[in-house]
Symmetry: D2
Subunit: 465 residues, 4 copies
């Protein structure tokens, strides 16, 4: 045994109990009972010992529109780690005209030598070519278990219903799971043009261009296509009651649909888009931020299991860099979409525990266990069990601190939650048994993170088989 | 340490992994790691080690209408144990005009010296008197965390909306959870009378008297009253899509509603009520059995979390005893309601795993973990974690056997699943570290079961508090 | 021929066209074509000629709680007539313990010699006695085609689900239509008590005691009972989207459900209940007034046919009479419920035409044609067709005036719409060919109104039969 | 006066009454009263006098896929007339790359000299070119008040969401109404290919390729786009509960949506697609025929106004002509879509009256009045009122006859209702006062029908304006 986490209170998606945790070779080997006396101990008195967070939706080092994200794999995973997250799954965008494999290769190049936590890739189907469709069945061989498709961003990443339907059909055969960005790209595009033509160019019109119905419509469509294809579906960044209702209707018809939301939809609102001095641009993301009451709907759905996952959708563009957010100063459609959140995510959702909206176990479930299970990382990630990776966070429930830009570790130049006083903090973070964060400061070596080959969807098999 | 469960595959609501489990003083003390060598070992090779089942809805030794249930606490808990269940919560019916406390006392008398697994009581509010309402706030002092109310059985157990609303309001203040039997008793009663008056007296008319809308209406009403009272709600034995829809609509409005179903709704249908030679009477329970397609809806809802619990609603009346089922030979309204299932429950739901409808973890969750959590038995029951009671089942996933009356241990004279070939069986069952079933045969002493004082609903508190 | 309405623009529920209308013996005998030259002419230049309004929900001379309504049959029908309404159906309340027939007899006594427009009675089933149930089948013999049942007012008019279900069943057999006041009386009563106990006694708490869910629940229940009984249903005074949704769900399941709303729900809101100086009491009616956005929902539903009828629910209690509204000065539960509206109704709904929310035909349909059809008064009332009663209004679409107490003809001492500037007015009103209102002033003789024996629900029959 | 229809029973959407009807210059000039004695009389004893039917969805002389419809404007309008229909609105398909105006011109050429009843055109937006979008605002100048867009038939008539959204936006500005064929063309196309590739080529697979969800999804999308555009919407040929639910949900959100169904969805089912000897091909239309229970849903929705219109969607391809239905003998995707029904329509819907599903007035409303109102033909067509065209049917309610091919007047070589015994028949049909059908036989001159310039959507205006 290499390490004992001693005197802590273990929290999993199922239960909370006091026990020591023994680690060997980067894995959890013993919970409770007598630990060998000659092993180093990490004291977890007054700490929750929780599974490292799993963030299944990040955009690190994305490059498009002549620029690249503010956060690369080093700063991005460092931020994630400092927030308690020990595994991420990033959105890989192949080149149009290129192969999916080439896209994954490129993503390996970007992450290699930089990531400090373990990582996987979703592969995006951007290209409606027959060659790309033909390549889908081999995606599991790349260690990738998920496809991403966009119903938004007409003329850019948006795919037709035909491409989505075909991907869903192929996914069934290969145990893949399709993720969709659900907004009606055509309607958004035309609405945005009308607004700009009418001189309505401020960031707040971003939300006017893409109201809840735009999201709900596409969600309903994706659910219907999944139903027709007999396929499961995962809807990223659900922002509103209207979209959630469509997911629930699909479930009632027997469709297997998962819902993910993000911290910005739980804490911010359309009002933020109207902040003065162009500060609203910091809050431009898609789907757009909603009216404040929608937050309660999402918290309620997290509580009772209708939303399974909180991901960050970390997508970082600087407020002070001319070719980032300021690009849209005179035209909101030119503001790069995205809000950072990899580091803030677990702490923000924990405020739900503080405020009595979520149980401790439910918090762990939505930030770690469910993302791991749904995205093919269980049982290695997302839980505290014998045999699992020793990705652990010593969470200090009594810490009280303020989210501010200097307190965070991303490279992007702002946080959307500036000044928010929070309770609870990731004190010590371990990845495969190695301490990578201590006192919320990174102590890990760049490049120590490893690529996670993810399992395709499990089929139940008898124990002896 | 007193015992090691060795070489098994642990299954919890969250994960599946190989680990030995160490038991001391009736509790789980260690999972994985080196076990002391001088401790007795129970070999679990080729077995799943799962938490003992928690059945939150039984009727043992109920006495009404001049007769009593076929199963008392000895036969009932023996059947439960042989089916893998190590804790039950039984419906306690106080006398009308008496106190709730007196009802609980009487239930203690019935269970005492007989039960072989641990047990708790729900206390039923039958009596609309002010005295009973006044007693509700003291229910937690009895070790009881739940109230049961009937919207059905007009002139007998049915309460008014006023009594239900008042109970819901009081439950909020005291951390109680109200359970409702949701059927519109007035409509059922009048429909049944019309049918009997028209000479429609066979068992199959039981389902005609109480169609899905009767259940859906009352479910909607209970959800609305819970919403108005700001209270959580638990709907027992949900049988159909129509009722489930009302629960889902409530959740979308922010109401905390739990749904329980039963094996009979997953495996039987209204067709069974039409079995020849009055055999349909064996299947008379309320809500009534539904059309076959409804089973798929319930399985789907179990899979994705819209139904949280499978309870047995074990209510045993003999087919061959004149004052039991035969009482209604000429009038279906006189057939005592109920189907046995305490022993069959876990095995039946496991068929969902065999058929790919549920994951292993989800099976554990709906038969053990969720019932424990929702009914105030966590973290002692329903999971495998350090500190939990060593209520464990060594489940043989490769066993193939046939559900038949001789193979079962209840005293009631039939099983509703006669002849059903199943896979998977509870081989060895432990309660607080003691083997109480071996090879599906009971080896426990009557009366070893203990009363479980159940926790009222938890309020999240910081770890150091 | 006795009279020609010349030069007007006829508006019916179906169309608008220019034509003269010929009247003989109180009936319409000719539309268009050459009219006899020797007949008196009423010039309708610049006027719409519309069917006299049918108000199917009034409370004239109601007596309860030791007092009686401010309006008796003379003032009530005078107000109605001056507002363009030429037929009313009033709610008859039999004595508890008495027969339905005795109730109807009493209502005849009250109306006789006073009413200036034609009238019918709904008979209320207040009494759960078997004798009353037994009398229901003979209701059509009284010239009454509708029953009214209350799900609200616990301890007073509220009936059980059993009584409602039984009434629905009997109604099917006799071609009757059941009207329900849909609010959960138990929940309302307990909520109101809690509020008063907490010192929340002002009129605005009336709306807190009976939120939309209270109405939606009872509506869902009534619809479910109608579905189970195979009966049609008419829901009076629908006030909110939540209740309307339940009606629409019922229709989608094949239930024949009609919805009525009232002017107060289209023009007033919960804010009015908070008017200073106890003025909120003027707006106390049940269901309670709702948030303002609900008005748009109701207008939309009127437009597209989901709500079929606008009735006044005229229920008049004086603001300045000690035993009327002031009775509840210290306790909102003691404020007599009701808002006057018999005279304001047609003008108020006409504002929907002015504002483009309703077509002219749809206005006629909801204030005249549909009430007549649904309540068994067609083809005599509610339309302009050969053979119909010459109940006609010469409507001045260009009139602009202000709703104020002095401008109205009811005896109650206030109007809820004081100061509202409106467009359009009933200039001349004819009942059976006789001018009863001229220039919005009554010119009719008390007691000229006749009792309308209403048809039970029509069964289509071939023309020659 | 030119003609008196004497002794009949007039039926309109609002009422039924006995009155003579006087006609002059092709218009109704007098209803009831003394008619001039020197005018020819048409005796209507024992007849209902109903408005001539308005069929707002026909395909006469359509030419595509190298062939043309079996019915041209002469046979098509003759069939319509013999069925009691006196006005049709046909789907005009412009050439791709051509202008809308050129399409309308071509349609004039086809109808000119042939039509025996009056007619209008819907103009189809097939072409996503900017030129076509730019032409939309001038469509009202062509006498056309409606646009038609297809969401089905990928690679052929299907348009993108962008084109649909843009058309909806433009329609608001010009008072146009958009009609949509709502099926997800992408999903249909891929499903059909899969079926054919699997050797499932028989006509019955047509329904498998396009299940209800395919229609419901597109309906939901069209409703959402209309909501976003602030535009009204008309959904053609609604076939199932799933699609209707989406329309109702839209209405509840305030969207103005109209629903049309067709006789084949009221009388035929998916079973018909499985008729032996390729006879199923006769029933291939899109949306596909549904399970039988769906018929009840549609009849219920017709009754209570959730479906407003029954159109024929007459689209005629011969069963015995090689390049018509037989083209798809080995591949259902090649079967030309369409079922004839112009002549059967009014009689078929009348069976609803015979069976008590619809009132007489509701029948008139859905086959004549509503189509006229919604499609800009009121007040000229669709009703019996002074000033309206004297398009009248003397309907014999006691006729009992059999729908068979020889009894009908279309040119297509089959009827889908062969052998159906019906009650009620159009005996005499008048168009603008001229008898065009007598004893169900045509007596009209080819080309007597006139083009109907249709009004754009009405805005309520005061009477004197």
């Amino acid at each position: 045994m290499d390490l004992v986490i001693a005197n802590g209170t273990v929290v999993t998606a199922t239960e909370t109990y006091r026990a020591d945790v023994g680690v060997a070779d980067g894995k959890i080997v013993q919970i409770g009972g007598a630990m060998p006396s000659d092993v180093p101990r990490l004291d977890a008195t007054d700490r929750y010992v929780v599974p490292g967070g799993v963030d299944p939706h990040t955009h690190f080092d994305g490059r498009s529109q002549g620029t690249s994200n503010a956060d690369d794999w080093l700063s991005g995973t460092t931020a994630a780690a400092c927030g308690g997250t020990t595994a991420v799954v990033d959105m890989c965008f192949p080149e149009r005209g290129g192969t999916l494999r080439a896209g994954v290769d490129e993503w390996h190049r970007r992450a290699d030598g930089k990531a400090i936590v373990d990582y996987g890739f979703h592969v995006t189907v951007l290209d409606e070519s027959a060659a790309v469709a033909a390549e889908i069945p081999s995606v599991p061989d790349l260690g990738v278990s998920t496809l991403k498709l966009f119903m938004a961003y007409r003329g850019s990443t948006m795919v037709s219903d035909a491409t989505l339907y075909r991907a869903l059909r192929l996914s069934v055969e290969r145990g893949l799971l399709c993720l969709v960005h659900a907004e009606n790209g055509d309607a958004v595009d035309l609405r945005a043009r009308e607004l700009v033509a009418a001189g309505k160019t401020a960031p707040k019109y971003h939300a006017v261009a893409r109201p809840p119905r735009v999201e709900a419509e596409a969600t309903a469509r994706a659910v219907a296509l999944a139903e027709l294809a007999g396929a499961p579906l995962y809807v990223v960044h659900v922002s509103c009651a209207e979209a959630l209702e469509e997911i629930e209707r699909g479930r009632a018809r027997g469709v297997e649909v998962y819902a993910e939301t993000c911290p910005q939809y739980l804490f911010c609102s359309a009002d933020d888009l109207d902040r003065p001095n162009f500060e609203g641009a910091k809050y431009v993301c898609s789907p757009a931020l909603r009216e404040r009451w929608q937050q309660d709907v999402l918290w309620g759905a997290l509580r009772d299991g209708r939303v399974q996952v909180v991901a960050s959708d970390h997508s970082a563009y600087n407020f002070g860099q001319p070719d980032h957010k300021p690009r849209g100063r005179d035209d909101f459609t030119k503001i790069p979409n995205g809000v950072p959140g990899a580091e803030e995510r677990m702490t923000l959702v924990y405020q739900g525990v503080v405020q009595g909206k979520l149980s401790l176990s439910r918090w762990v479930e939505v930030v770690a266990t469910n993302p791991a299970r749904i995205h093919g990382l269980a049982p290695r990630k997302g839980t505290i069990a014998v045999g699992a990776d020793a990705d652990l966070v010593l969470w200090d429930p009594s810490a009280r601190w303020t989210l501010t830009q200097p307190a965070l570790h991303h490279k992007v130049d702002y946080t959307a939650y500036e000044g928010l006083v929070v309770q609870g903090a990731p004190d010590v973070v371990l990845s495969r048994g190695e301490v990578i964060v201590r006192g919320r400061q990174p102590v890990a070596k760049a490049g120590r993170g490893r690529f996670l080959r993810r399992q395709s969807r499990p089929v139940p098999t008898p124990v002896g088989a």
